[in-house]
C-alpha cells in the first residue's frame, strides 16, 4: 500500500491573506496577523488579541438569503481557490471531507442562551450543526457522491485530509476535496481564557517565555488526486502526500502526555508509510501552539522520532503568525507544508525570540529561509489527545507502484443501549419497548466513578455502549473510534454561554469548556476505554449513524486502523427536539427517543483469532448524490433471503430505485417506527441488520440512510 496521492490544488484564507499565495508570502516575510477582535465585543476578556480574517464578511460570498455561518463562508473561499488551482470544475471531485470544530457557533452563541431569541429567530441556528460547512460546500460546489464531516478538535482539518487520502489510495475516488474551517467565536475565546491557555501577548511557540496560544480563524482546502488521474489531466502537482497516520493518546482531555510517545509513533508511522526515514525529512511544520505543555511535549516527540536527525531538520510553527485556527489548523498547516515542499522555502516561527531549554530544535527565527525540502511533515494534536501526521514529498520523487488493498471488513460485535437496556449481539434485534430510557445516574453507575467525572448523559451512553462492544482483553493493537452525534450536547454549551452572558467571561466553569466541544464525548471515551487508534466525531444530520459506520468501514478496509468501534449516540435535548430538529430536518419523524448503538469492525479473520465468530461481513458501502442515483450502483444481494433495514422510511425516489435493483421484493424494516426517532438511529439499523444475519433470519441486509440529498448504502452479508 504505497500509492501516492497528488496534491493538485490548494487554497487558504487566514489572518495574513485571502489566498494561499498571499498567506505564504507574508508568512515568509515574518509578518504576524494579530490584532484586537472586531467580530464581537470582547469586553471582560483578559485579552482580545486574535488572528482574525480582516475585510471579510459572510455576505460577500454566501448566496443570499440562506443563513450561512462565517465558518461555512471561509470554507467556500478556500475550497474555490483549491479547485481553481487544480483546474477542476465544481462536480469534478466526487468526494468531500471537512474538518470543523466551532462550526456555526459564532452566529448561534448569542441566541442560544436566550429562549425568547431562539423562538423568535430560530433560522439563525440553521448553520449550527457541525455538518453545515459540508452541506453548504456540497450545494455550492457539488454534487459530491461522498461527503464526510470530521471533528477531532484541533486536528480536525488533518483528519479530513487523512480521510480523503484513504479514499484516493484505496481507489474509492480519483479526486477529492478536503480541508478544515473554523471561525472565531466567544465560546472558544472564553473557554481557552478560562483554561489559562491564552498568552496575553501574541503567542510565542517554543520560546522560553511562552505562555499559551493566540486564537485565529480561517480555512484551507486541498485537492487530493490519484497519481493516474493527475497524470492523465496533466495537472501540475504541488506536492505528493505519501505518508499519514492518526492515533490517540488516551491520556487526558486537555494535557498531553509529557513524553510524547504517541505523537512520536505517529511521526514514525507517517515516514514509514512513505518508505522514508528521518534522513530524508527536511522540515516539520509543528503543531506548536505556544502552550508550555504542548511545545515541550512536541520537542520530546520529535527528538524521540527523528533521533540525531532532529538537529538537522528545520522546525517551525505557523501559529505564531496565524494563531490557532482550531478545526482549520491541520488543513492550513498542511497547505503551508505542501507549499514549503513545492517552493523550497521554509516559513519561520513568529514570536519566537529565545528558544526554551525544553524546546531545543532547529528553529527558523524571524523570517523564512530558502532550503531544499525533499520531504516535510505536518503534525496536529487536539484535545483528548487526537493526533494526526501528514508527510508531503517533492514532485521529483520516483513513482511507486500503487497496490490496492482488498481487506474484507467483518462486523464482530454489536450493542445497543436504549429503552430496552443494554443489549449485545443477536439480542439487539429484539422488539422495541415504549418505556423511557434509564436515568443518567443508572447509566453512570455502570462506569468507574473516578474515571467518568463530568461525563454527561451522551458521554456515559457512548462509553457504556462502546465498552460492551469491544472485545475484552484485546489490549494489543490499536483500536479506533468513530462516534456520531448530529448536534452535540447543545444544552451543555447553552449553559456555559448563559454564564458568559449573565456573569461575564471570568465566571464560566473552566472544566466545562473541554467537555462541551463536539469532539469531547469521543475524546473522553477514548481515554476511558484506552483507545489509541484514530478517534473522530462525525455527523450527517438524519444519516449520522450510517455515516459513522461508513467511515469506520473505510478505515478498516484501507488499513488505517485494525479495529474500529463505530456508532452513534443521541440523548433527549429540548433544543434539538423543539428547534434544531424541525429546522434542519424538515421531514416528518416519529416521537423522539434516545439511544446509543455500537458496531465493532475488524479485518476478516481477526475475530476467529480470538476464538470468536463475526456476526456479518460489511460487503460493500457506497454513498450517492441524489443527482447520480442509479439502480446499477446498488450491488445485488448475494443470498436468497435479503432484507432492507432503514432508520427511517426511504423517500419515494429511493424506494423506486430499490424496486429496480436486485433488492426488489426484500422486506423493509423501518427502525424509527418501533423505536422512535433520533439522528443516530442508523447505527441501530446496522446493529439490527448484523444481528438479523447472525441469528440466521437473513442472508443479506441493506442499510439505507438519507441526508441532505445523499444516500448512504451499507450492504451486510452472512460470513462465508
Amino acid at each position: 500500500m504505497k500509492s501516492r496521492v497528488a496534491i493538485t490544488g490548494v487554497g487558504m484564507i487566514t489572518a495574513l491573506g485571502s489566498t494561499a499565495a498571499s498567506t505564504f508570502a507574508r508568512l515568509l516575510a515574518g509578518e504576524r496577523g494579530f490584532g484586537p477582535i472586531t467580530l464581537f465585543d470582547a469586553a471582560g476578556q483578559k485579552s482580545s488579541l486574535v488572528g482574525e480574517v480582516r475585510d471579510f464578511r459572510t455576505g460577500d460570498v454566501a448566496p443570499a438569503p440562506s443563513p450561512w455561518s462565517r465558518t461555512d463562508a471561509l470554507a467556500l473561499v478556500a475550497a474555490r481557490e483549491a479547485l481553481a488551482m487544480a483546474r477542476l470544475a465544481p462536480g469534478e471531485p466526487t468526494a468531500l471531507a471537512v474538518g470543523v470544530t466551532t462550526g456555526g457557533m459564532l452566529e448561534a452563541e448569542m441566541i442560544l442562551p436566550d429562549a425568547s431569541a431562539v423562538n423568535a429567530r430560530p433560522h439563525e441556528l440553521a448553520s449550527y450543526p457541525l455538518s453545515s460547512p459540508t452541506h453548504r460546500l456540497s450545494e455550492a460546489l457539488g454534487p459530491f457522491d461522498r461527503t464526510a464531516t470530521l471533528c477531532s478538535a484541533c486536528s480536525s482539518g488533518a483528519s479530513a485530509i487523512v480521510q480523503a487520502a484513504t479514499w484516493i489510495s484505496s481507489g474509492k475516488h480519483r479526486v477529492a476535496l478536503a480541508g478544515g474551517t473554523d471561525a472565531l467565536c466567544r465560546l472558544t475565546l472564553t473557554g481557552f481564557h478560562a483554561l489559562g491557555a491564552i498568552d496575553l501577548g501574541p503567542c510565542r511557540p517554543f520560546d522560553r517565555d511562552r505562555a499559551g496560544l493566540t486564537l485565529g480563524e480561517g480555512a484551507a482546502f486541498l485537492v487530493l488526486e490519484s497519481e493516474e488521474s493527475a497524470r492523465r489531466r496533466d495537472a501540475s502537482v504541488v506536492a505528493w502526500l505519501t505518508g499519514w497516520a492518526a492515533g490517540s493518546e488516551a491520556h487526558h482531555l486537555t494535557h498531553p502526555e509529557p513524553g510524547g510517545a504517541i505523537p512520536a509513533a505517529l511521526i514514525r508511522r507517517a515516514l514509514a508509510r512513505a518508505g522514508l526515514d528521518a534522513r530524508s525529512l527536511d522540515y516539520v511544520n509543528a503543531h506548536g501552539t505556544g502552550t508550555v505543555a504542548n511545545d515541550a511535549m512536541e520537542a520530546a516527540a520529535l527528538r524521540a522520532a527523528l533521533g540525531p536527525e532532529v538537529d538537522r531538520v528545520f522546525v517551525s510553527s505557523s501559529k505564531g503568525q496565524l494563531g490557532h485556527t482550531l478545526g482549520a489548523a491541520g488543513a492550513i498547516e498542511a497547505v503551508i507544508t505542501a507549499m514549503a515542499v513545492q517552493r523550497s522555502e521554509i516559513p519561520p516561527t513568529g514570536g519566537l525570540a529565545d528558544p526554551a531549554g525544553d524546546c531545543q530544535l532547529r528553529h527558523v527565527l524571524g523570517k523564512g529561509r530558502a532550503a531544499e525540502v525533499r520531504a516535510a511533515l505536518s503534525s496536529s494534536f487536539g484535545f483528548g489527545g487526537a493526533g494526526t501526521t501528514l508527510l508531503f514529498e517533492h514532485e521529483g520523487e520516483a513513482p511507486r507502484a500503487p497496490v490496492s488493498s482488498k481487506v474484507q471488513v467483518e462486523i464482530t460485535a454489536v450493542t445497543s443501549l436504549d429503552a430496552r437496556g443494554l443489549l449485545t449481539g443477536t439480542s439487539v434485534d429484539a422488539p422495541a419497548v415504549s418505556t423511557p430510557m434509564e436515568p443518567t445516574d443508572g447509566i453512570l453507575a455502570r462506569l468507574v466513578a473516578s474515571r467518568s467525572r463530568r461525563f454527561d448523559r451522551e458521554t456515559a451512553m457512548m462509553v457504556v455502549g462502546a465498552e460492551a462492544a469491544l472485545p475484552s482483553g484485546a489490549g494489543e493493537g490499536e483500536r479506533g473510534l468513530v462516534a456520531a452525534t448530529a448536534f452535540g450536547n447543545v444544552e451543555r454549551a447553552r449553559e456555559f454561554l448563559r454564564t458568559l452572558v449573565e456573569k461575564g467571561p471570568r465566571r464560566v466553569a473552566p472544566a466545562e469548556f473541554p467537555h462541551l466541544l463536539p469532539s469531547s464525548p469521543a475524546g473522553n471515551a477514548s481515554i476511558y476505554l484506552d483507545l489509541k487508534g484514530p478517534v473522530v466525531t462525525t455527523c450527517d444530520l438524519e444519516a449520522s449513524g450510517e455515516a459513522a459506520v461508513l467511515l469506520a468501514g473505510e478505515w478498516v478496509a484501507s488499513g488505517l486502523c485494525p479495529l474500529v468501534v463505530a456508532g452513534a449516540v443521541e440523548a433527549l435535548d429540548e433544543l434539538v427536539r423543539g428547534v434544531l430538529g424541525p429546522l434542519c430536518e424538515p421531514d416528518e419523524h416519529a416521537a423522539r427517543a434516545e439511544g446509543s448503538a455500537w458496531i465493532v469492525l475488524e479485518p476478516r479473520g481477526f475475530a476467529a483469532l480470538r476464538g470468536g465468530a463475526p456476526l456479518a461481513v460489511l460487503h460493500a458501502t457506497a454513498q450517492l448524490a441524489r443527482k447520480r442515483w442509479s439502480a446499477e450502483e446498488i450491488a445485488s444481494p448475494r443470498g436468497d433471503a435479503p432484507v432492507i433495514v432503514c432508520a427511517r422510511a426511504p423517500e419515494a425516489a429511493l424506494v423506486e430505485l430499490l424496486a429496480r435493483s436486485g433488492w426488489a421484493g426484500a422486506t423493509t424494516t423501518v427502525v424509527e417506527r418501533s423505536h422512535g426517532w433520533h439522528e443516530g438511529l442508523g447505527a441501530l439499523a446496522v446493529a439490527t441488520a448484523a444481528a438479523r444475519i447472525a441469528r440466521g433470519a437473513a442472508t443479506d441486509a441493506l442499510v439505507v440512510g438519507t441526508s441532505a440529498g445523499r444516500a448512504t448504502l451499507l450492504h451486510l452479508v452472512k460470513p462465508s
Binding site: H255, S450, R453, R506, A509
Partner: protein, 88 residues
C-alpha cells in the same frame, strides 16, 4: 462562619464542583494536599475550584504563584477565605 462549618461547606463544594461522586466529605482530610496525590485532582480541577470558590464566597483568588499555598489543603483554603472575607 465557624471554621469547622466552613471546612464542611468547602468539602461539599469540592465534591460537587469536581464531580467526585464516589467520595464523601469524610474522605477528604483537612490537612492533606488537594492536588497531585491524594484525591488525584489536576490543574483543570484547580481552575474549576478557584472559579467556584470565588463565586460562592465572594473572594478573589490570585492567579499567580500566590494561589499555590491557598490550595495546599482544606484547612489552608478555609483560612484564606476567612481572612479574605474579614479584610473586605
Amino acid at each position: 462562619m465557624d471554621p469547622e462549618a466552613l471546612k464542611r461547606e468547602l468539602k461539599k463544594l469540592i465534591l460537587e464542583e469536581l464531580d467526585l461522586r464516589d467520595l464523601a466529605e469524610s474522605d477528604i482530610d483537612d490537612e492533606a494536599p488537594l492536588f497531585g496525590e491524594g484525591l488525584g485532582l489536576d490543574s483543570l480541577d484547580a481552575l474549576q475550584l478557584a472559579v467556584a470558590i470565588e463565586e460562592r464566597f465572594s473572594v478573589q483568588i490570585p492567579e499567580d504563584d500566590r494561589a499555590k499555598p491557598i490550595f495546599a489543603s482544606v484547612t489552608a483554603l478555609a483560612a484564606f477565605i476567612s481572612s479574605a472575607r474579614s479584610a473586605s
